[in-house]
Assembly symmetry: D2
Homo-oligomer: 364 residues x 4
Amino acid sequence: MGNTFGHVYRVTTWGESHGGGVGAVIDGCPPQIPLAEKDLQPDLDRRRPGQSKIVTPRKEADRCEILSGVFGGKTLGTPISVWVRNQDARPEAYREMETLYRPSHADYTYQAKYGIRNWQGGGRTSARETIGRVLGGSIAKKMFSQLVPRLSVTAFVRQVGSVVARLEADRVEAKEVEANPVRWPDAKEANQLVRLIERVRSEGDSLGGVVECIVRGCPVGLGEPVFDRLEADLAKAVMSLPASKGFEIGSGFAGVRMRGSEHNDEFYMDGKRVRTRTNRSGGVQGGISNGEDIIFRVAFKPVATIAKFQKTVGIQGKNAGLKARGRHDPCVLPRAVPMVEAMTLLVLADHYLRDRAQNDQRRK
Amino acid sequence: MGNTFGHVYRVTTWGESHGGGVGAVIDGCPPQIPLAEKDLQPDLDRRRPGQSKIVTPRKEADRCEILSGVFGGKTLGTPISVWVRNQDARPEAYREMETLYRPSHADYTYQAKYGIRNWQGGGRTSARETIGRVLGGSIAKKMFSQLVPRLSVTAFVRQVGSVVARLEADRVEAKEVEANPVRWPDAKEANQLVRLIERVRSEGDSLGGVVECIVRGCPVGLGEPVFDRLEADLAKAVMSLPASKGFEIGSGFAGVRMRGSEHNDEFYMDGKRVRTRTNRSGGVQGGISNGEDIIFRVAFKPVATIAKFQKTVGIQGKNAGLKARGRHDPCVLPRAVPMVEAMTLLVLADHYLRDRAQNDQRRK
Amino acid sequence: MGNTFGHVYRVTTWGESHGGGVGAVIDGCPPQIPLAEKDLQPDLDRRRPGQSKIVTPRKEADRCEILSGVFGGKTLGTPISVWVRNQDARPEAYREMETLYRPSHADYTYQAKYGIRNWQGGGRTSARETIGRVLGGSIAKKMFSQLVPRLSVTAFVRQVGSVVARLEADRVEAKEVEANPVRWPDAKEANQLVRLIERVRSEGDSLGGVVECIVRGCPVGLGEPVFDRLEADLAKAVMSLPASKGFEIGSGFAGVRMRGSEHNDEFYMDGKRVRTRTNRSGGVQGGISNGEDIIFRVAFKPVATIAKFQKTVGIQGKNAGLKARGRHDPCVLPRAVPMVEAMTLLVLADHYLRDRAQNDQRRK
Amino acid sequence: MGNTFGHVYRVTTWGESHGGGVGAVIDGCPPQIPLAEKDLQPDLDRRRPGQSKIVTPRKEADRCEILSGVFGGKTLGTPISVWVRNQDARPEAYREMETLYRPSHADYTYQAKYGIRNWQGGGRTSARETIGRVLGGSIAKKMFSQLVPRLSVTAFVRQVGSVVARLEADRVEAKEVEANPVRWPDAKEANQLVRLIERVRSEGDSLGGVVECIVRGCPVGLGEPVFDRLEADLAKAVMSLPASKGFEIGSGFAGVRMRGSEHNDEFYMDGKRVRTRTNRSGGVQGGISNGEDIIFRVAFKPVATIAKFQKTVGIQGKNAGLKARGRHDPCVLPRAVPMVEAMTLLVLADHYLRDRAQNDQRRK
């Protein structure tokens, strides 16, 4: 029962890997925002299987259809229902999942919690579920393009396995990231990553990595202490993505080794604007955005589905073994980039509207 | 407006560092749970300033008073209001905060968001705010002692500055942790940490570190995909604590360097119970607890309040400098331990009751 | 942004009269409940236009399709997405609504609030929107058939215009109600109501009335004081239906003329069960169900769309006149019956699961 | 677990009749609103026992104390905690309530739901609980005095027993209402009501009645279809008050006897403002305020506590009899007036801020 995200800008997602389709209902979006399917397709395409040779070959065009909430090309302020039909479903490829628990997957926990599960393609735990998130995020992006045009959200792959990109986040450009299938910040280095991913796949194995995200142009004042701090909601948002294992903002885990005198971000005046010389805070102080770039990282574990034999148990409580069939990604990172962006946009949209509710008068 | 945590077990906190006091209202706690102030005082004492020579010397007895929701020594099922009066307030020590923004504090962002702030002792951004959380967590602990007696939550300091404890989480014992003022897992090593903290304080500087937390005996099945996954809510919970900069569960950031074949947790039958050989998942798979120990880590930045001179700006938009007065911790880690435990208990209590709502029939 | 109902059993509806369709996402439904489209169709058919000669002739088969949340004929515990495609849309019949506000309709308030509206068929304010509610209610009914089989919800038309049915609620039977197109509790009297409705329609006018609802077999203990009392949530639920103007439970407005000594419901023991001799409380005391029949009434105003000429104003702020075209009901009451039942079921399902969350242990 | 009201302007109340006290935490109030205890005391005094000879003589000064959220006389945007200490508690007067269920009270349902209850003075079900609501409402009133100064909320007693006041709501003035202890709209008629109430009390009996409420100056556009329509949330708000049995808005139950052509409110231009000639809608159309006066009525049953002997049963399941002791109101109506106003203000404040969140841009 945890399928709704947000307080004012609210996204409810639904759908399993195999079934009628997947989609989302977005409630709370301001009215009069220009919106059409073509605004949503680009991010869907970035998330889509089969987009390059290093991701899963499942064939899904992932064409979305807006069913409500838009009229004459603009949002109505009523709920926006949008969905994508499932097409290339191959339930037979998952037949053994009916009785066996895949290691480090959700098969066992879903069975234990609900006493039933859709074992075809992982059901609700499939990455296909994230389509609804991406749809909600793209609509949020459209909203910001009207209300806060300077705001941008750019995620990229910071690390694959043990290979770490060196470029500083504030020098990363979306165009460069999208120019290579890995979504590596430096396109010139991307080929070596492609080769790494292909080699690991050919070994029947998989890779993990880190996605980094930078939000530029975020208004000062977003975040609702004490529980709904901006970084807390960002952490929740990305930690709700499949395969994520860690979150850090600004200096993160490395910052704990510093002294306060090294770590503190000194303030200075940049014209009429309060700025910080450094940005170890990662754009958030006391749970509220301070106008600097928001920068955070998300760890994704190596994909659990591998083509090697593994020991496991079955739903009858007997020890067994299995070797994955079905189509899957050797490395989830390239496709995780638009997912991280989408979750970030959901958080920002909700906090932008929440702040407007309580603090609107300050801006007048 | 983000001062309530939880969906069924709901905690609303209130209070500033300087003012009438701080407290919490807990709604949704099951009835008939034995409860008295003496059940809440131990964790308050663990959070309290002045508890040892390495924390802030502010003198607060932090005696709590239960105002409602308990009758004849048991919970009524109605809201439990509990609070602690502020006593040793020294607003004059913060006079310069009225006009200056402390670096890496929330002074600027609160002023920008609300156009007003209680500058005395940091107001709502003071660690004193966490009293309400600890109260809510202690009541959750009492609830579990009745409903899931085997469940325990133990946090400890894994790292201070660059010093990392070596003991594996599953070997850490609460008694050992509480036997030393640092809350270090190996009490024999604690003295060197005390000396480090004292030295850094004498230099007018501060330290960061990492708190680790282990949940033993968690029932299988807690967590509500897709957004309210257990690890997502744990991440949000601890990332809403002051000074936290990162969260990781199970293998976390280090796990991304592994291959899937190394990282996967193979299942096996332990009598009638499904277990995993390794626990890189950290006790959660697909957003739902699997019955293994839940293990996660939280990074805390070095305390922002330091006794050294720093450059900053004032509310009039002029560059300035300041050197902190007031009382503060040189290292927040020892006092962060009960805070992390409290937030963990809030998440578990809420998810335990939420799961009971939807899935109760499976247990009959 | 108010398109979600419920805390644990949560229904989010979407859709406009003219557009892709209308539907609902139901989150929080317990798993393993048998469910198929055929379980939902009967209530949809009771709500459907064109079901009899006294309702609107719009031709909609209203065939629903379940897109997610069901596998192998049972609920999964994941969100259930279900929808109905719009078919017989005739936007041209509403062309003048583009620029004119229909009296006592929502045209003006939607335009004023959002600055935009879907004027075709009333858009989101169309009774067509209630399809999502009926879908959610039918699923709740199916859930109760498994978990609380003795519970039943029966609504009927108590009053049309000035004609009031005399039968006591506790003698009303669903079969009798469904045996006539008015949904009048005494089928023998129904013909006179049919004639009344037809006469008023032929005059280009419309009628209002009262729907009454009786819940039999409700478990003791549902309702969450102090704000989410059972009668408060029932009131909200039915007052959110289009055209509703009043709600009363038990003795209601008439009861205010009685003295306390006349009005109080004395308790007595019926075997081991605590019962009340009278039921002026309407089955709810202190906001919590007491096990007696829950009985309440809902007032519906005469349908605002009439074929007579009326004065009004246009979106350009000029006085004007209009005479409705389009298809509409002369009396909403027969179709309001399944809507009231659906909203009642949503409230009961949510409160049943909420009570289970907090108070489950009492039943063991 | 239903002790929080509102989505953005959120009020959480706590407290039992006998115990430490009663209070509320208000979250989401905009910052920089002037606020002090003296702003809250007038409404508390209007709700207070002992305020006149026709209400309960329990002696409670009901002095409130603001514990947080205010600094330098202005709101901070952080949670406002405010409470009233219980003083004149006389638990011994309720000793027999420990084992007996008072007819038409919540004793039985609380015992059945929670398995425990605070029987002293009715515990959480006491009208004393409404102090928290009145506090929240008074703060909302203060907020509107700053942000929407033209808005006013005036409730009054429309009916006591069978005596109905004739004055039209739009001619009622708050000053006149407050000039008599009954809160009757025509002070000249109040004496006869006082005598009626005194006579019924002397007979050991009690009276019911109707409170009417008029909101003047409400902005156009408040209300969130489809579930959180303004009238739906108003209905819920007042139906959550103790002893309420019915709600109607505008033409209400009487309106169902009209034809659509009589009932519809025709629009006209009043300068640049869209107005309606009549106001059978009661100020709300399609769930959204239209700028006309919002007018609704609430039925309150005769007080359940009477001094006459009544049959009942006890917690041991045996038939028994009782005659109320303790102090109580013979007629709740005069004190219900500020409660209805408070709940109305909570709804309006929440909807005002919610509308601002989604639709703020329209006003610029």
